[in-house]
């Protein structure tokens, strides 16, 4: 009896199962199709090249299609770590990063704190103006500063001579060139960073400040004890971005203005990779240095992300 009663249901179920919609039969199909264009592109242009860089770092090769790729094992890494050039470039990378932090974090934070009451029309105009360098292409920024800092005819040196001092060779002096490039890199970012901090400050509850003021807190105390902790996520964000990308932002200026010189004094790791790869065609060295860079900055990035998550999770 039970079988007979079941039969119609089974008969009905059979064709229905055969005609189950595609989405149920292959639940992965639709998501895959939606993801395919983006993932395909990134796989071809980022992930696969990373694997290929890893492979090439064990070979000696000069980029010529005819030339053989010779497997050399870990030799590229060994040689690199013994090279004084690499040590100098790593040290310079550190200088770029540390030099940028005042321009991307400390100064913008100070300006944003000191100008936190500038609102309304005037505030909007300042905001629009100080953001302009962010719009300008790095190559343009590079040639403008090359002109401004020119030792003979540049306007900066005209001013320096005007007050009776000798002209400064900003980009040709091995002791100064790196700091000039740090300044130029920071010039493009300082307004942007200031606005990031200003945006974080406007979200602060003003009644909290009033209460502190009524309790007799000085302006300095209010800044240090209320504003700074509340803008901590912005500080961490800009700090992490600067540490991870600062040396990379400088690449354009190095390539256009100094080509790593004078005396390698402005060469950082990114520029060294570029030189090994496309000036000396030492593909093994370039890719091996690239892998080292990737690993070091990858670890730094993991710390950075943890730091960002923690600063965001703070009670506000």
């Amino acid at each position: 009896m039970a079988n007979v009663l079941d039969l119609p249901a089974r008969l009905g179920a059979l064709p229905a199962r055969r005609r189950r919609p595609l989405a149920l039969r292959a639940p992965w199909l639709a998501p895959s199709l939606f993801l395919a264009p983006a993932l395909g592109t990134l796989a071809v242009w980022i992930y696969w090249p990373l694997v290929e860089t890893f492979r090439l770092s064990f070979y000696e090769w000069n980029l010529l299609p005819m030339a053989p790729q010779v497997f050399v094992g870990l030799e590229n890494y060994q040689r690199l770590l013994e090279l004084p050039e690499l040590r100098q470039a790593a040290w310079n990378t550190l200088l770029y990063t540390v030099g940028l932090l005042p321009l991307t974090v400390a100064l913008p934070l100070a300006v944003a704190l000191a100008t936190r009451d500038a609102r309304g029309r005037a505030g909007a105009i300042y905001r629009a103006l100080i953001f302009v360098p962010m719009m300008i292409a790095p190559v343009v920024v590079a040639v403008i500063w090359r002109w401004l800092l020119n030792p003979e005819h540049g306007v900066v040196n005209a001013i320096i001579r005007g007050v009776g001092l000798p002209a400064v060779r900003f980009l040709d002096d091995p002791g100064l060139a790196l700091w000039s490039i740090v300044f130029i890199t920071g010039w493009k970012l300082v307004g942007f960073s200031t606005l990031i901090f200003a945006a974080a400050l406007t979200s602060i509850d003003r009644s909290l400040i009033e209460a502190a003021r009524l309790d007799g807190a000085t302006e300095g105390q209010i800044a240090r004890l209320i504003y700074v902790p509340l803008v901590m996520p912005a500080i961490v964000l800009l700090g992490v971005l600067t540490v991870l990308h600062g040396a990379q932002w400088s690449f354009v200026y190095i390539n256009v203005l100094t080509r790593g010189g004078p005396l390698q004094s402005t060469t950082n790791l990114y520029y060294l990779l570029w030189e090994y790869g496309f000036s000396s065609f030492a593909i093994g060295w370039s890719t091996a240095a690239g892998m080292l860079l990737f690993v070091v900055f990858g670890i730094a990035a993991l710390f950075g992300v943890r730091l960002m998550n923690r600063s965001d999770a703070r009670p506000r």
Binding site: A38, I46, T53, F131, V190, L273
Partner: protein, 285 residues
């Protein structure tokens, strides 16, 4: 309790402190504005100077002229380069918006461990500097026979993790009831995406589009790697070529720099508020 005792003390102090703070604000912001704008002003002034005034430090040329623009037009295919740049920027922006929209939809619509894992993988591209993968990328372009073409400039930028992550934020905030209602109505994914979601996230798409266009217009590293001839160069590379050849021709060089910046500055003049907001919202690219 103390709050009741203090106001009499702080009130007389109030106005002068406020006045001082306001004056200090303005002074600081004016100084920062000047620091931001004077270099650009000097670029434009130098571009307008005739040859015999080029080393002058007067704030405005006595006889402003467009000679310098004419001189770069003789030396390099300036309009061709601007057109190349506009084409590359427009094409890669449009492509990135479409691929990011599709991917962000998938991440928002199907939330399981697979899509979460893939999303995690995507965010990792943030950690891979262009210089680390430049050699394989270069080899790929040469193996396609695309060296020195505009296609080589566009293809790697058909999709970006940055665009996907930003759009995903907007799509995740999209009310799920609307999507559920559309599903109950029997709407397919394609329909939901283009008819239900896209009309509602237009502002997010627009600001992402502006961001992508500007960063593509100003891009330097990738074009530097795959461009060889002036005819297929974008304006940034054209500027670099001109600089390498005639580094001390300050007038024409500043004219070229001004021309390279004008389109973006024009866009900024019109959409200033949206642009600043979308940059601040997205962080640095």
């Amino acid at each position: 309790m103390r709050a009741h005792a203090e106001p009499t003390q702080s009130a007389p102090l109030g106005p002068p402190t406020a006045w001082f703070a306001a004056a200090r604000s303005h002074a600081l912001l004016i100084a920062l504005s000047l620091l931001s704008l004077l270099p650009l002003y000097w670029m434009i002034v130098t571009a307008l100077r005739p040859e015999n005034e080029i080393f002058s430090t007067a704030p405005w040329p006595e006889n402003p002229t467009l000679d310098n623009v004419r001189r770069i037009l003789d030396g390099m295919p300036l309009f061709r380069m601007l057109a190349n740049t506009a084409l590359v920027a427009a094409a890669s922006t449009a492509a990135q918006l479409v691929t990011a929209l599709l991917a962000a939809y998938a991440f928002a619509r199907w939330r399981n461990r697979w899509t979460r894992a893939i999303f995690g993988l995507l965010t990792l591209t943030w950690l891979i500097p262009a210089q680390v993968i430049m050699v394989p990328n270069y080899l790929l372009v040469t193996s396609f026979g695309m060296l020195d073409t505009l296609a080589a400039l566009i293809l790697p930028h058909v999709a970006s993790a940055f665009a996907i992550m930003l759009l995903y934020q907007s799509l995740r905030a999209f009310p799920e009831e609307l999507i559920d209602a559309a599903i109950t109505d029997g709407a397919g994914n394609w329909h939901i995406l283009w008819r239900v979601i896209v009309p509602n996230v237009r502002p997010a798409l627009a600001s992402l589009g502006i961001l992508l266009f500007i960063s593509s217009w100003n891009d330097y590293f990738w074009p530097l790697l795959v461009t060889r001839s002036p005819d297929s160069a974008v304006i940034q590379i054209g500027l670099q070529m001109f600089f390498t050849q005639e580094g001390n021709q300050w007038g024409p060089l500043m004219a070229a720099a001004s021309v390279a910046s004008l389109p973006i500055l024009a866009i900024y003049a019109v959409l200033q508020k949206q642009i600043v907001e979308s940059f601040l919202h997205s962080g640095l690219k």
